[in-house]
Symmetry: D2
């Protein structure tokens, strides 16, 4: 029988136990703390992190926020020293942690570049994304096992990238898990569609919440084939924009010089919409990693679409746990050095949790194993569609299929993901290389260059690849780039 | 590309045009009129009926209701003389009409009985149900064609039985149609589950709306594998009831003597739950037509499960258009001979229409072509699951699959339905007989007896089977029961 | 990757080791011995049987045959006392043994009859066939395990009924097995088609070998949709026969009084051909167990089609190992009491083995897991189609699909088979009952009667059902027919 | 019902009518004439060609050959002026013609090269192959229509490239056609495997006929996962060769300077075998068009694998109908200027035709719509596997599936082919461009460069693309490379 996601016990809104793995986070944890303080839920949060001190700081911050008058909900925070302690009896588990340091991300970007692959983000697919998956998946398999032991029915929210790989690994390891993969990209598309409704349809107050889409695909490569704002079909407007000035802008490196790496000019989106008739629903910088035409050539060819490449310097800076503006905030807020105002983040976590606890019906996009919500992608692959959340249940909404060419693109990536997931179950590095080799970015290399690239990346990150059989790998043995012998 | 159900234009809540085919109805039309008068929608209703006078009477009643002070919405009613007139420009179409007279239903029940088939209702599957489908499907193909011409984007609500056959025929004829098949049975199950929650879980105020289920199957043969009331899992309670006195009652004909034919003691439901681990979600009298063990034997064997057979005398009386208590009501209400109080029916029609017009998110069970919402039944077969209704869109919720034995039962019926639908497209009576022959009820006959039964039914109803090629049929030619030559 | 059947080593025609499990057989073993003596293969045969004496007698007979001048091939025979000894290093394994005694077959026929089920053979499907499967499958799972240990690449020929259940069990237990299920029924159909070619197409010398068919289905329920004799299409002839006297004969019990239970008048075949347009390819007495219309009613209703019911007295007599005419032959031949003439049987075993050993290309029908040779039945179900045999390889021929109604019949039986096979893996009697309950013959009973029938059969045969969890069964506990507690 | 390939009438070996479309061929026709003269078949051949004079010359040659004493079979030849005349009543149709002149093939090679795509042959996939398909498919749709009218049951042998596109188009246009796509590549692999058996297994006399393979894929991209020579498993030998010197040779342009473009050093084959565990079964020059890693970089990178790029000068010379050595032969032979010796070609055409006419069982690789012979590629896609040929029937052999990464490569190409075939049915150039854009070779370009490449190719070949809607194409309108307006 196809498995339905179910929890035997609904969440009691007045007694929720949250286990937060990666609870030392500098940005997401403070946001969550504030969201919970203003929610309809009450309970306790256990923060667990490899960096225990960071978890303790966030626990202090959480309790500090709760001491404020404008904290309407009732929550307590504590940092736990073990994963098991955090998980035991949890109703909700948040997974949001990356142990491997910034330097690995630098490799993910820079090594492929030397082989001629100009990934824009290199974080969820392509050689960098696959390496990240290979480092992350074994750890998340362990999390899945721990969840199956300590809180088998808990609702698990995975925020860790690559979301499709990681969420798939959770289910592959523990098929009974109630895990959701979450991501902002589709929310961003709805946000932008609301802007178009305001600007072109006279809906002055339209917001993301007013925009409904039929969305489907895999994380960071989702597609929309219906979009409405307050019920009004946005398709004619989108087609007009695509064919007019908005959909046909070009950029130079100079134009983008002062922009953040997150700049999104939607020119990749418009071009894909023009070619295939359906609208991509992820940032352009992610799309180009999956629809790889746009990263062919070099920097200028990518910039032409209004996309900036994520420089490895950016990565190095922003992933360093030691320092960030955000860190300063928490301590500063508590010390009174900076004014604190309780604000709501844009996250849907609390919305989902409230709906699970019985507060009405909530619809949002989530990543779940395919049980039919997406046509023509294999069962069990983790796909992203809308889902409906109600008391004790999350159910994906059947979103249908794709134009054949889009289906072809999607299937290609699913094959890579599934190949790597299966390889990871055995720690079989040669099998993982097969998935690497058929990746759309890697296919611009000769097989031998692909092998060298792979070996070089593995060699550089070997300390984060302990779950893999490096010694037994013939691919590494063939390689001249690898110092492993 | 797998088709998504879509309407290019959302419904404007202040300007809705409803075409009601079968608008002379004595019961459903007055209910709809009252529901609309209390709804958040405004517009006009065009009533079309083969019996134009009945439509005119309902139009008068509709406008009479609107003249009352407690009618908060603004609606006008008119009866149209042609289908085209009713449909042109409609936003919503209601299909609820059966042209063939009561005597055909008498045949559907009595002729198979003479061959030893004790169908309890004989209205949606089995020899009687198939005959009804054969009479009804050609007409609804015509409706589908008319809709494609006059209001191709309209939302079409089909209430006509057999809902799976009829809704399938609408899509088979006009694949672009936005049609929903609607039925009460699952609502009845949720109603009963609410009662169990009140009686056994201390949820004193629980109602149908508090009960959520994961439901899937085909109309009148749907199954539930998750059920919650306000988020509380009902499964343990259901298992206890099944194993206790409630789930193990037996009945005699005498016990049921004073009961209506609609009596439902849930003993078939409990027995199927016991055997297969999932809970049927339709009235026992319908279930026994699909899970045919229960109609083996005779009257007492059926009564033992607390089910009464629908007598053909009941049919003859209740399907006669000329007279019914309900008719009297409308005239009596308008004449002031009977006191009128504006009441709400239990129908979900207005809830769905309001959600389509942008009033929030509504979830209910509907019959739609399978695009993946049900695993392991063929694509395009009309299946019943929950769907989510929002502004301008209805999307089925992915409900997963079935235990293998239940899947086997369902597939058998789908094969019959699909065989008959394809036969109807060509008017091929011999092909329809193949679907008849593999029907689970018919399989208790020898093939020659099945042929005679079929021929006799066709012969008796030939004037309602004009769309079929009776002359070219070898099955009829073989038969001694048939006077057609 | 879908598995291909392969042996790493081809059979060396001059050095073949055959393990014959059930080698004490009175009929099949002497035939095999004679066939091998006249074959292009040489080697040794190890006979293993629960009745070791029988195996020894056949070994003596084998060596006696080899001592004759007309034995052109070179074979030696020995009886082994253990299964392991027989299997170790075998190139070919023959499985043809049934341990449970004749009385179980009497139950299979007589107990269901008391409940109103008139199975004609009750040996491969229906309540009797399912019980036989339940007794046999656990034993054959053990054989599969032994083969995986002692001769993992051997070619395994399974002759034991129910062939579909048993062959499926071999693969379910040891997916790497190279097993073929073999049966005569399709050969019989080709034999009969050759007769029609002789009688109606003037092909005076046509034999079974001249007839080629496209065949597909499951064992004992196979269907032909192309048939040629020496390339001449037989379809027009078949349609003429079907519509004429040959295809429309009726019989009475009296007509059949002197016939053997194996009498086959093809009237079931013609009727199914008439109804569905494709030709069944198994004896009528088997067909009626799968196309159950023909066993509805009683003895006369079955006789009307020219089919005799296998009486349990016949079973009791012919399955008794102690005595049979055949036994006498072997001893008599060796003693010189009866004249012996070396003859060839009609079996295809030697033809297949010779082709596997490199002697050309051979095509015949075999039972294999579905890898695509049959459309629309599930993968891995054991299906019967033609296969091509060449040196070291057997590959099924892609035979396509079925008219929808025929597909519906086939799928129903596959669901039963798969349900029982999965139940057997766990020894779960309640799960097996689910497969029993959805069997087409059982569906003519009330569920409670079906349960009593099942319990009664299990109770009567409990000593052959040791692999099943009888104590834990709720079905038995519910039953009044069962003495197990 | 899944369609079975069938002819209602078997071929009468003494009265075969062959229609040869493209019968003016300089090489293949003389070969066929000689093969037929030595065959077991007799009849007449009608040669039809756009160049009627060429057909007449071959007819003269055919009759001249028949006048020789060593022509054991009895055949007559005539050239027909119309296609209809050639086809009417034909038992066998040979399709082997390409109307578009050599210059189009020059474009296919040279234009993509200017955009950086170094296709090695550019004839069956990639931009050049797709253009060739776009020129050829409309013509072959016309052939299919003509066959459906004049000889609907004929056996149709398609030799025209791209075989997968063209054979698919025949079935897409006339689903009832009995067409086979034929190609030499797998025969070449078997030939080479025989050589390895001679060289490494001491089978001194091994030939192609002794080698059997389990082969599957699409034309020019087929894979072998079992290979035997006289039943002996070749896999261990292949693995040894792969890992030794044979499988690890490198080449320079200089090494290949004197080689023909058809040189095949199997280094691509070994590398793919090394990476994926299954053995490709087509010439390396074809493989690199599908497994595009090998054409990344430039000339030296391709030469490194022992593959030469087909120069457009070669194409220009060898495809000119006006002149070739072969032409001279026929005239010279008939004039007595050159000695003629009746020889047999290596073609399987006569073997297949003889088997169809009842002469035993023949097994060879053919291209047919997928009905299950290949797992995990879509139904109806034209795939290549072995098939068994017998009197009046060709049936594909179920060959199973692929390792996931190989499946991913194959599916990608099937998506392109199916997209173009569907586009051709409507003459929709923009839809064809979608198939072009997702081609693996094209994906190394930016979308705009791909568009320009496409437009430039279309523009250059517009006179051979009359079946396409060039005026309505938005892709052409967007393009600056296209002079069409």
């Amino acid at each position: 029988m196809a498995r339905a996601i179910r929890s035997n016990t609904a969440i009691d809104p007045d007694d929720v136990t949250v286990a937060y793995v990666g609870g030392g986070s500098r940005q997401w944890a403070p946001n969550l703390i504030q969201d919970l303080a203003q929610s309809g839920l009450n309970g306790r949060v256990r923060l667990y992190d490899e960096y225990h001190e960071s978890a303790k700081r966030n626990a202090r911050f959480g309790n500090w926020v709760q001491s404020r008058e404008d904290a309407v909900a009732d929550w307590t925070y504590e940092a736990t020293e073990s994963l098991a302690e955090a998980l035991t009896g949890a109703d909700v588990v948040v997974l949001s942690t990356q142990y491997d340091p910034a330097e690995t991300f630098v490799h993910d970007l820079d090594v492929p570049k030397r082989y001629g692959i100009y990934g824009a983000v290199s974080a969820t697919i392509g050689p960098g994304g696959i390496m990240r998956a290979m480092r992350t998946v074994p750890l998340y398999r362990e999390f899945a096992t721990a969840i199956s032991e300590h809180c088998p029915d808990a609702w698990v929210f995975n925020y860790t990238n690559p979301v499709h790989f990681v969420t798939r690994a959770l289910y592959h390891e523990y098929p009974g898990i109630n895990a959701l993969g979450l991501c902002h990209e589709v929310l961003g598309t709805r946000h932008r569609l609301a802007r178009y409704a305001r600007d072109h349809l006279g809906m002055a107050d339209a917001t993301r919440e007013d925009v409904s889409v039929n969305v489907k695909g895999i994380n960071h490569f989702t597609w929309v084939d219906e979009a409405r704002c307050k019920g009004v079909d946005l398709w004619p407007t989108l087609e007009e924009l695509r064919d007019g000035e908005e959909g046909n802008r070009t950029f130079t490196g100079e134009d983008l010089a002062d922009e953040s790496v997150f700049v999104d000019n939607w020119q990749v989106t418009w071009e894909l919409f023009r070619r295939f008739g359906v609208l991509p629903a992820a940032g352009d910088r992610h799309l180009v990693e999956y629809a790889t035409w746009f990263i062919q050539g070099g920097k200028e060819e990518l910039n032409r679409w209004g996309v900036k490449r994520t420089g490895s310097d950016y990565r190095a800076k922003h992933w360093t746990p030691a320092e960030s503006d955000q860190t300063t905030d928490v301590e500063a807020w508590m010390a009174g050095d900076r004014e604190f105002e309780l604000t709501e983040s844009n996250e849907v976590f609390v919305d989902i949790a409230e709906a699970l606890a019985g507060d009405g019906t909530y619809v949002t996009n989530v990543n779940l194993p395919n049980v039919g919500q997406v046509t023509d992608l294999q069962n069990d692959a983790v796909v992203e569609t809308n889902a409906i959340v109600r008391a004790g249940a999350v159910k994906p909404i059947a979103a249908g299929g794709f134009p054949r060419p889009v289906r072809a693109l999607l299937r290609g990536h699913v094959e890579t993901i599934e190949t790597v997931i299966e390889a990871a179950a055995d720690g079989d590095l040669d099998a993982a290389f097969e998935g690497f080799l058929i990746d759309q970015q890697v296919r611009t290399l000769q097989t031998e260059d692909a092998r060298e690239l792979f070996a070089e990346l593995v060699d550089a990150q070997r300390e984060y690849l302990e779950a893999w059989d490096l010694e037994g790998s013939t691919v590494l043995a063939e390689s001249s780039a690898c110092s492993i012998d």
